[in-house]
């Protein structure tokens, strides 16, 4: 179950898929600067994730949301994001990245800590009784993602542009599965709820 949390968070961060976008943005900067950017952006992303793991509960009670709502909503968001990865359109954010140094936007948010990741963290914060487990899962998934981006130039040399595209597609595939699964879970939770009220 813990491994499941880590894996899901890691795939939604999609660091392997974002490697190509990241390299495109830092192209031309010296390696030291690149590493500095990775650490800075990833720390910002981590801060966003931890923030959402705490305010998740607050948003739940304040907006009077049910778990089913968040499951269905995050499933739909994740599905659309995965579709963009699988069938890239020439007008998407990924295809039109600004050719300058990233600061918060777009690398930290939304590429790493996007809406789907934040919604997922909110959901997990609600479902997971132990805060420590969730935080350590976030941290482990985050650390692996930092490792991937830190070694991005090496990874790029090793598997090439085409290999990166293949990995990105693979991640898209996994994300779409997660999305449909979560959507179905949301529906399954909603139906008994609805029947009770009706």
């Amino acid at each position: 179950m813990f491994l499941n949390l880590v894996l899901v968070l890691f795939f939604i961060m999609d660091s392997i898929g974002n490697t190509a976008s990241y390299l495109q943005m830092v192209n031309g900067l010296n390696p030291k600067r690149q590493k500095y950017i990775v650490i800075r952006e990833m720390l910002i992303a981590l801060a966003a994730m931890i923030l959402f793991s705490y305010i998740g509960e607050f948003i739940f009670s304040e907006l009077n949301l049910s778990e089913a709502t968040v499951r269905v909503a995050s499933g739909v968001i994740l599905f659309l994001i995965a579709l963009k990865i699988l069938f890239p359109s020439p007008t998407s954010l990924r295809a039109n990245l600004p050719k300058e140094e990233p600061f918060i936007v777009p690398l930290a948010i939304p590429l790493i800590a996007g809406p789907s990741l934040l919604a997922t963290i909110m959901l997990f914060a609600r479902l997971e009784p132990s805060q420590v487990r969730l935080l350590s899962a976030i941290f482990i998934a985050w650390a692996i993602s930092v490792g991937v981006l830190w070694n991005a130039p090496r990874l790029h040399r090793l598997i090439g542009n085409n290999g990166l595209i293949a990995c990105e597609r693979l991640t898209g595939m996994i994300l779409i599965l997660l999305a449909v699964q979560r959507f179905l879970e949301g529906i399954a939770e909603f139906i008994p709820l609805y029947c009770q009220k009706g």
Binding site: N162, G163, I165, A166, I191
Partner: protein
Amino acid sequence: METGQSITHLALTYFLVTNPIGNSPLILTLLKNFNFDKQRQIMLREGIFTFLVMLVFQFLGEYFLTMLSIEPPALTLCGGIILFLLAMGMLFPSHHENESKLIQQEPYLVPIATPLLAGPGLLSVIMLTAANEDSTFKVSAAITVACVGVISVLYAAPYVQKLIGKVGLQVLEQIMGMILTLMAVEMILMGAGNFVKTL
């Protein structure tokens, strides 16, 4: 008898989803700068890559399923949705233009073997059948049979183009798209039905 039918059925499904006939015009346009012999060599190489990707997914796919706690109805539905989108792309082919723009260099594994032939649709079909079938050997055998078919079509593709021309291939692609749409809707309905049963 039962086993034989099932292998044929699986192999036919894999073959149709891999869609070597429909993909041939696209692959040929990607390879138009190479001469006839080089084209055939690339086709053979990409066919073998496709086979490897499929086999890896047959085994790793199941591992992923349990790891990410994804249930069979979600997999079926997801496969159906992706196939449906692919089929729409084949029937209304503006989507193919995007895909051919993606990579302009010499093709190596990507785009021919992996996104095109062993695409998300095929991989989810393989993951699905690997999860549903008891016998690993049966799926592997079906993959092998399908790949023999796929590789032969790819290897013959440079001739096929000469024989039926570009228009003929386009017509064939439309028909494959129609069949794929039917398969996709069938999968979506199956997935939805299985999901409703679990409620």
